[in-house]
């Protein structure tokens, strides 16, 4: 038995709402994208090859240290002794608790300063022990 073909009635899906769907997608991604708001210091990162990506931007605290001896977190200049306090505030933040600390340190900085930062992070405890030394990919 054969089915009869439908009459001429247009059976194609209307594509008129396609732009609306795509616009909606566009707006969804625009809203969801987090654009980095702090600009940081002027640093030249060291280069390395075996580098890992950070998992997104949420729960990441960034400490900047440039060769002139400045230290900033979220664009606020700090004394080395104040790092633990600021990082602790981030660690107990309920909306996005600190998971990893990204260190953006200029390649000319002396290790004395880096050790100071390590010590401050160890003060804070568990949440601040995962560090990531920011580096750029080496040309090889």
């Amino acid at each position: 038995m054969q089915f009869k073909k439908k009459a001429q009635a247009g059976s194609g899906i209307s594509t008129a709402s396609m732009p609306d769907i795509i616009f909606m997608l566009l707006i969804f991604f625009m809203v969801c994208t987090v654009i980095k708001s702090s600009s940081g210091l002027n640093v030249i990162l060291p280069d390395a090859q075996k580098i890992e990506k950070l998992p997104g931007k949420r729960g990441v605290g960034v400490i900047w240290a440039d060769r002139a001896g400045n230290l900033t977190i979220d664009d606020r200049f700090l004394n080395p002794n104040d790092i633990s306090g600021v990082i602790y505030q981030k660690a107990i933040d309920l909306t996005s608790p600190l998971k990893i600390v990204s260190l953006k340190i200029d390649n000319q900085v002396a290790m004395e300063r880096v050790t100071q930062i390590h010590e401050e992070l160890r003060e804070v405890g568990e949440a601040a022990l995962n560090v990531n030394y920011s580096a750029k990919t080496a040309a090889d």
Binding site: I22, A110, M111, E112
Partner: protein, 132 residues
Amino acid sequence: MLIKNDKGTPEINSGSMADIVFLLLIFFLVTTTIDTDKGISLVLPAKNSEIVKMIDRNLVTILINEAGDVMFEGEKTAIPEIATKARELIQNNDKLAFSVKTLKQTRYDAYIHVLDQLKRAGAKRISIAEPD
């Protein structure tokens, strides 16, 4: 003189709107670079963690001086050679830990290069010794 348009107002075909929006979307998708942070990950020891005594043969000490020279197990080594040396040692002893010790005036990039070499050698246990 006026030319009459007696066919009514012509409509623009909106079917190609989707194509235009797609094109825009793809253009921005391709040109946007999301800057992902990349770097060398390390876990610092906790403040009041007990000091683990290491057996000497399981510990390799690496010293970096102010000039960026590296002493690998008491032997001066160029930084690019550390990875191969470390890999050989790890193959013989997988419990091996590396202790990286720097001086106060050691430059940060020398330290990162050494860590990078150790990571490339597949070292899992890296410890940071405090400078004196």
